[in-house]
Symmetry: none
Subunit: 158 residues, 2 copies
């Protein structure tokens, strides 16, 4: 089932892969027109599919000659891994961010498809509800479990 968001995502990724620089510029209006959708749809896609956790950065300018620039940030180095995980695990845990991070790990082939699926499954709220409450406890547990799982992956040898 391919959604509009999927198509827009694919299109932008294609642009990125064709670009010799590490970013591409788009015009929100144009893209929206190309896909016959509301301009705000583009923001939606950027937010959901091109977040920092996924390894992208967005910058933009309004007004005449405005644009949206999408950067693909460098692949994760061993060192940077720890930082991302600490960041995700610091403060309130947001499963959605963790999920995005998983997507990125997949794209960079740091984890296998199966591992990605396992990690994703561990973040589902339904696993915890009825057994754990209030919500804050659910988050803490998810955090612990996510961290534990990812650390095992980090420990290495395939």
């Amino acid at each position: 089932m391919v959604t509009l968001s999927d198509s827009i995502e694919d299109y932008i990724k294609k642009l990125l892969s064709l670009s010799s620089r590490l970013y591409v510029d788009i015009r929100r209006r144009e893209l929206a027109q190309k896909f016959s959708c509301a301009p705000s749809q583009i923001n939606y896609v950027l937010e959901r599919r091109f977040s920092a956790e996924r390894g992208y950065l967005i910058e933009s300018r309004r007004g005449g000659r405005g644009y949206i620039r999408i950067y693909r940030i460098n692949p994760l180095q061993k060192q940077a891994w720890k930082a991302v995980i600490d960041y995700l695990a610091g403060g309130d845990f947001e499963p959605d961010k963790a999920l995005q991070f998983i997507k990125r790990c997949r794209e960079e082939n740091i984890i296998t498809r199966r591992e990605g699926r396992i990690l994703q499954a561990l973040l589902k709220d339904e696993l915890y509800t009825a057994l754990v409450s209030p919500e804050i406890k659910v988050r803490s547990l998810q955090k612990r479990i996510f961290k534990a799982a990812i650390e095992e992956i980090l420990k290495g040898s395939y």
Copy 2:
């Protein structure tokens, strides 16, 4: 006597047998319309007739363009995992038992080293205690989480 559930079950199985992939996607609404029944009837059939024990797995997405995906577990895999699946369909849960399964799976090379480590990590009591009690709840949670992970592995291709 042939019940509605029977017909729906047959229909889905037919779809699966016609599919070249190891899953089919359905739309709950559509199916319900096709069989002139309440949408929740579909969930009922899936729950009763397409459980892991019977060799199937379900996954779904809500919202616009939502879907329900039904996997048929590859018979070979099912064979290999039968003991685990049956164990998980039963009542209580002992982490030690699960650990033994993991070990066995490693020896037979049906999971990778990394997957083995992840699964093991998920069973550690320390992850749960302090956040969950009494012990019976810890066990239930461990079971759910372990089961969720196993099911993702069962979903297939590497």
